[in-house]
């Protein structure tokens, strides 16, 4: 999975809890770097804050969903902003509000990936994204 986050404290906790849950994580600190990395690594899920530099999380989400290669990628908007509606309008699969609560985050990721696997049984993402 790819996490787009510039706050070092959030990054450290996301890395710890997602690793604990069995996921491997790549990080990007801005939207442009995230898009580039997404093309390289083709993650099953992108978790993005809205407030990231260069390309904000919602614009990143729109680009991923419109991309012919990345369009199937699950996008979870995980933000300090209360922006469920804007996340939905940008095509996100789910919205989660900060601060980080590991159970909520991990459960949401699991559910989104399970839903994706059910739709695309041949591209089962498994536990090591």
């Amino acid at each position: 999975m790819l996490v787009v986050e510039r706050d070092p404290h959030v990054r450290e906790l996301e890395l710890f809890f997602l690793n604990e849950a069995g996921y491997s994580v790549d990080f990007a600190e801005d939207g442009e770097a995230a898009l580039k990395l997404a093309h390289e690594r083709k993650p099953a899920i992108v978790i993005t804050e809205i407030m990231v530099p260069k390309l904000d999380g919602l614009a990143l989400c729109r680009k991923i969903k419109a991309d012919p290669v990345l369009g199937d990628t699950v996008v979870l908007v995980f933000s300090i902003l209360a922006a469920h509606g804007r996340a939905r309008d940008a095509g996100a699969d789910a919205f989660l509000m900060k601060p980080l609560a590991e159970r909520r985050l991990v459960d949401t990721v699991r559910e989104l990936l399970a839903r994706r696997a059910a739709i695309q049984p041949r591209s089962q993402p498994g536990q090591a994204q």
Partner: protein
């Protein structure tokens, strides 16, 4: 807050409203308009012995009902063993929650060995290992004092603030801070709320106050709120504020004072919900008139409350009996007596007790005998005045008819300023005066009756076996 977008309409309303954490104390929650915001960083400040640790522990044990533990970290102020040892004596302490839901840990050794920079890694480690929903650091001021420079402390506070705001946790930093520290210490800049506990010596006893200095993104009840430390935690008496008159409908009903001859000279009784100030010297008959006023309501089936600070309950029983009423029968039929020794008198607690009576017993009449005792007990005359004014307004909103007795040797209410204060607070002002030549000769004069005609002449007063009579 989770939203998974399976359907176009499947998302919660967009809002950034926050949840609250109860303090475990209903009065403190009311002052904070519901409690502390979840995921906030809060400072509880006050000099040693003001009740910070008890306040924090009461909050901790009250919230120890989730599947995530709550963490109490001691630093270099008091050793953990002492904190736990004293906590066990308090009513809210539950030993079965220790080690499972409530976790104590001592950072003192780490901080001593490695300095204040050891704090943030320990907090981060605790978050990763334990997933606490509340963290209390006691004392954070001790961590501050350990820092070699303001720059170092700013860096630590910034790191800690970053960690605490990244994670789903509510933090409380306790400390022996002074008012001056607020402007210069960096921890106050990251605090979402600041609660101050104060203790002031007043004669042989202490007065304690809780004050909210800051509560980011929320309303709160301003000002000093008195409290006591009890073995069940803090007992807080929220400051009385003027009530909301939006739904108030005044009644146009007169009610008898229950004192023969008085109703006719004040226009046919007092308005229900009005306040009458009865001024007079010692022995002029104020207490008797107050009792007659209360018992008149009880005889008509309306509960009444007699609040006094001088005569003890046995003496008041004798007074009631001398007015021809069996005290036991009076008590059963709605006569309530609230006695507080003037030595132990704390005005805030009396006000709360009066309100409890009004709410629970449906009291329709109140006598306060005498407000001078409240003035003596109050450390701040302006505060007392504000209190009484608000109290009277609450009586008005509830249509509770009130008599305030005020002792005055001269028959005057005090200086001009005092006189004006009392006058605008009261609908009616009656003054009892004893004769200069013959103290047994008493007269009553009606100084003011709001929205009523009255007889301004001096009327002779007789105190007979069955009470006061106005001639």
């Amino acid at each position: 807050m989770i939203a998974q977008f399976q359907h176009a309409t499947d998302h919660p309303a967009e809002t950034s409203d926050f949840l609250r954490i109860s303090t475990g104390n209903p009065q403190a929650d009311a002052i904070l308009c519901g409690g502390f915001p979840v995921n906030s960083v809060n400072i509880v400040m006050g000099q040693p012995g003001t009740g910070k640790t008890i306040f924090a522990e009461q909050l901790l044990f009250h919230n120890a009902n989730t599947d995530r533990p709550l963490l109490y970290l001691t630093t270099l102020s008091e050793p953990m063993s002492k904190v736990v040892s004293y906590a066990q004596r308090l009513g809210f302490f539950n030993v079965e929650q220790i080690g499972t839901r409530v976790l104590y840990d001592d950072l003192g050794a780490d901080l001593s060995a490695h300095g204040p920079s050891a704090l943030v890694p320990r907090v981060l480690d605790a978050i990763k290992r334990l997933s606490p929903s509340i963290i209390i650091i006691d004392s954070f001021k001790a961590v501050h004092d350990l820092a070699g420079s303001t720059t170092e402390m700013r860096r630590i506070v910034s790191e800690l603030g970053g960690v605490l705001s990244a994670y789903d946790v509510t933090a409380f930093l306790l400390g022996e801070y002074t008012q001056e520290n607020i402007e210069s210490y960096p921890e106050f800049a990251v605090a979402d709320s600041i609660v101050q506990l104060e203790r002031n010596a007043l004669g042989a006893r202490d007065e304690r106050y809780l004050r909210v200095l800051k509560l980011r993104g929320s309303a709160y009840r301003e000002g000093q709120h008195a409290f006591r430390i009890t073995d069940t935690g803090l007992q807080i008496f929220p400051r009385l504020v003027t009530p909301n008159f939006a739904n108030y409908t005044p009644t146009l009903e007169r009610t008898s004072m229950g004192i023969e001859g008085l109703d006719t000279i004040i226009g046919g009784g007092v308005w229900r919900g009005s306040t009458t100030l009865l001024v007079g010297s010692t022995g002029s008959g104020k207490s008797t008139m107050g009792l007659q006023f209360a018992l008149e309501a009880v005889n008509r089936g309306e509960p009444a409350l007699f609040v006094n600070f001088q005569e003890n309950p046995a003496q008041v029983e004798r007074m009631v009996r001398s007015l021809g009423t069996d005290p036991q029968v009076a008590a059963r039929t709605g006569f309530h007596h609230l006695y507080t020794s003037p030595v132990e008198l704390q005005i805030d607690s009396v006000i709360v007790d009066i309100f409890n009576f009004i709410e629970t017993a449906g009291v329709r009449r109140v006598v306060i005998d005498a407000v001078g005792d409240l003035m003596t007990a109050a450390s701040d005359a302006q505060r007392l005045h504000d209190f009484l004014y608000s109290l009277v307004q609450h009586f008005v909103v509830r249509n509770v008819t009130t008599v305030l007795n005020l002792e005055s040797a001269t028959g005057l209410v005090g200086g001009r300023e005092q006189e004006q204060r009392w006058s605008y607070m009261s609908d009616n002002v009656l003054v009892l005066v004893r004769g200069e030549d013959d103290p047994a000769e008493r007269t009553l004069r009606v100084i003011k009756t709001r929205n009523s005609a009255h007889d301004p002449a001096a009327h002779r007063v007789e105190i007979r076996g069955d009470g006061v009579h106005i001639l």
